[in-house]
């Protein structure tokens, strides 16, 4: 079904064969794109066209296509997740673009996120930061205390939830001129620091996670606030402030 509202676009896309090769921008045309389709559905149309011409399709990450898995990660017209606010790439719709527009599409760029192929990057550094301390040490015994034994104020529970909504997409890093991961790490540290269950390991956690973050090659935070603007889940800068406080307290009072 094609309508007169359909759009034609010029795409400039980063193509890179593998991690070792150097990449370059390549131009493509796509025609007949419905404004109601999503950005990734537009990419599907491009790829179907490339396949039918016998060319290799453009590789990009995606899975849930509903803004929650954190897999999609395109840098569109110089913005992580593109021009719309509070959305992931997969939730971005073509009605945000104009017929005839040229759209630039690049991968996340950061030392700690090496490109694997085309627009796919390796974000396992995020996992390793979580492995360093992003958990509460509790075994699955089947006789943990009753869930309602320790009331938690609604205010703290809601704030912990707000921090916990981070989807680990990495847009904050991609958009930061220093490629800092402070928003991502701050969100996890904040979530646990607000909950009674997170208290015992509170100091070690923040120290270990920050240490791993530095080891992975993420940059320093210079408070530009760009991460908050591009974060699809509205994770606020307050999480960075809380983490800094937690870190300071932990460094001063850490028992050895």
């Amino acid at each position: 079904m094609s309508t007169n509202k359909d759009m034609n676009l010029i795409l400039k896309i980063w193509r890179q064969k593998d991690q070792k090769s150097s990449g370059k921008m390549v131009d493509y045309k796509v025609n007949g794109i419905s404004p109601d389709s999503s950005f990734l559905e537009m990419m599907d149309v491009l790829n179907e066209g490339l396949i039918s011409k016998g060319e290799e399709p453009v590789e990009f990450d995606h899975d849930c296509r509903e803004g929650i898995c954190g897999m999609c990660s395109l840098y569109i017209n110089g913005e992580a997740h593109g021009p719309d606010r509070a959305v992931t790439t997969c939730q971005l719709h073509m009605r945000k673009f104009k017929d005839g527009e040229t759209v630039t599409i690049e991968p996340w760029r950061a030392k700690a996120f090496p490109v694997l192929k085309d627009l796919k990057v390796d974000r396992s550094s995020f996992d390793r930061i979580q492995q360093a301390g992003g958990f509460i040490s509790v075994n699955t015994s089947g006789n943990t205390q009753d869930a309602n034994a320790t009331p938690i104020s609604k205010y703290n529970a809601d704030k912990a939830m707000d921090a916990a909504t981070c989807i680990g997409c990495g847009a904050c890093v991609a958009t930061c001129k220093n490629a800092s991961a402070m928003l991502f790490v701050g969100a996890k540290v904040t979530q646990y620091s607000l909950l009674p269950q997170g208290q015992v390991e509170r100091k070690e956690r923040v120290l270990n996670m920050v240490k791993q973050m530095d080891l992975e090659g993420f940059g320093n935070c210079t408070n530009t606030g760009a991460c908050e603007v591009e974060c699809p889940k509205g994770i606020s800068l307050e999480n960075i402030a809380i983490m800094n406080r937690e870190y300071l307290k932990a460094s001063i009072t850490k028992e050895d």
């Binding site: 079904m1 064969k17 593998d18 794109i33 419905s34 109601d36 389709s37 999503s38 559905e41 599907d44 149309v45 490339l50 396949i51 290799e56 399709p57 590789e59 995606h62 899975d63 849930c64 296509r65 898995c69 897999m71 509070a86 939730q91 719709h93 009605r95 694997l116 192929k117 974000r123 396992s124 995020f126 996992d127 979580q130 492995q131 992003g134 958990f135 509460i136 040490s137 509790v138 075994n139 699955t140 089947g142 943990t144 205390q145 869930a147 309602n148 009331p151 938690i152 609604k154 529970a157 912990a160 939830m161 916990a164 909504t165 989807i167 680990g168 979530q191 646990y192 909950l195 269950q197």
Partner: protein, 671 residues
Amino acid sequence: MSVLDAKIPEGPIKEKWTNHKNNINVVNPANKRLIDVIVVGTGLAGGSAAASLAEMGYSVKAFAYQDSPRRAHSIAAQGGINAAKNYQNDGDSIYRLFYDTVKGGDYRSREANVYRLAEVSGNIIDQCVAQGVPFAREYGGLLDNRSFGGVLVSRTFYAKGQTGQQLLLGAYSAMNRQIGKGKIQMFSRHEMLDVVKVDGKARGIIARDLVTGKIERHSAHAVVIASGGYGNVFFLSTNAMGSNVTAAWKIHKKGAYFANPCYTQIHPTCIPRSGDHQSKLTLMSESLRNDGRIWVPNNLDDVKAIREGKLTPTAIPEESRDYYLERRYPAFGNLVPRDVASRAAKERCDAGFGVNGTGEAVYLDFKSAIQRYGKEKALVTGNHNPTDTEVLEYGEEVIKAKYGNLFQMYEKIVDQNPYKTPMMIYPAVHYTMGGIWVDYNLMTSIPGCYAAGEANFSEHGANRLGASALMQGLADGYFVLPYTIGDYLADEIRTGPIPTDTPEFDAAEKEVSDTLNKLINIKGTKSVDHFHKRLGKVMWNNVGMARNESGLKEAIKTIREIREEFWKDVRVPGTTQGLNTELEKAGRVADFLELGELFALDALDRNESCGGHFREESVELDGEQKGEAKRDDKNYKYVAAWEWTGDAGKSKLHKEKLEFNDIELKQRSYK
């Protein structure tokens, strides 16, 4: 004895699980280190199983096709998770949850399994809270609950509209702790492409590193498949783009029976398809039906005017609207179970009353709720004479607090403001109750091979209640499998490490490589998606919400044709080396093309209507229930477990008879 032994423990239903746990073998801690377990999948089921097994001391290898265990599709669950905690003091109990689940599943599940699920449900909530899962709370600091899916008690725990995300991040954090300790080796961006059997037992898998393209051999003393559901056989569904049947299908072809493949849940409240470019469908949480009223215009002129953009729904007066669920089911109204609501929407749209360009949409209208809540809130706020605008404002505030993120999501996708104009919804494939057959211990018909979560067929019978899949996934992974697997592994302590340089691994690897090479070398003319979409269309039209004999037979024939054409004419670009998404997709669609046929065959065999499976030949002919689904307990009270014989169409049916000793069988009625 039949080949299917469900191994249900003896004794009264309330004591079965406790007794069983006390009687099964355990492996001593020193020996656990020497035992390797492979877990395929890191969703709620696989993630929780991997973490718990590692905590117990086993050496675990976990696999996921995404780039991180945190991205499994469990992440997308919105609504909540059930547990029989009775925190609201509304009379909930283990028995009531058990009863609701068996009844909701239209008496096609195994009583003993469901009872165990209800029994461990409370532990799940305790465990998750201990992990730091930020469930919603009341002002007093205690956990909040909502009622979900038309049950009479409030037993659903939730974390905003992101319950699955928070539960999965809980399991992910438990995994991370074990990965950090070296007890779990995590293989992200890896796809399992076959199971390896040695002397009849599952002894490992063949996996492909999706980045390098390398085929790898991994051995273990047991293999757990927790690879999720297969709804993507319909092409369009609420599943993730990569959700697949491959892991489950490969073990099926090596001897694991596939049970009730035709049991599918079609969810009534999804955002309708907007055109041919559509790649997936988005669910709008079922909780919306608590406040939204579903309707279509009652005359075709209005429908036509709406489609042409000459009329807006808000301009249609009450008397020209058909609130068809309230009309047909006065007792339950808009809260009838999912299958009933879905079929009713299809019925109206098939009759020509669909309200969007594709003719496949009905309205979900919040106007009445906004009015009602607005008046309430005005009073509470001390405003006894609110203006109409104030009532609307108050009402919208209440709705926003309840469903804000869903409304926002809808607006982003559809570009309409659902506070001002009714939402449009249409049913979509959402969940597959069918899956790999397992016994009470969650072991498949291959010794040493287990299946957990949506990948197995277990507790939901022919229809799943809302908020029960998350419960089942975590029950399997945290509280059932880690114990039952010990019974098998206790005999493995002397086995020692399993070598991978054996003829069995050679053969399995060769088979995998041959298939990949074959796909690349067809060099046909049509893309993988082309075939997937065609399969999806047949499935949706002939094997979807309503099924009949001739349609099913036609589906079987067409699917075979598509499959033949696929193997002659598919075009997979690139090579088997390095990252190649099209190659991954091709392998998955090849498996869907076989599963689709078995799916239709199963639907054909089951000439009754039960739960999500509706056979047009099996309806009530008269009385109050005229036209409604008719179950046939005399002939179909069994689990259909299919054995692979080399051709999906010639699969062999084994029947596991279901017995109901603790619940009386009744016909469902929502009138």
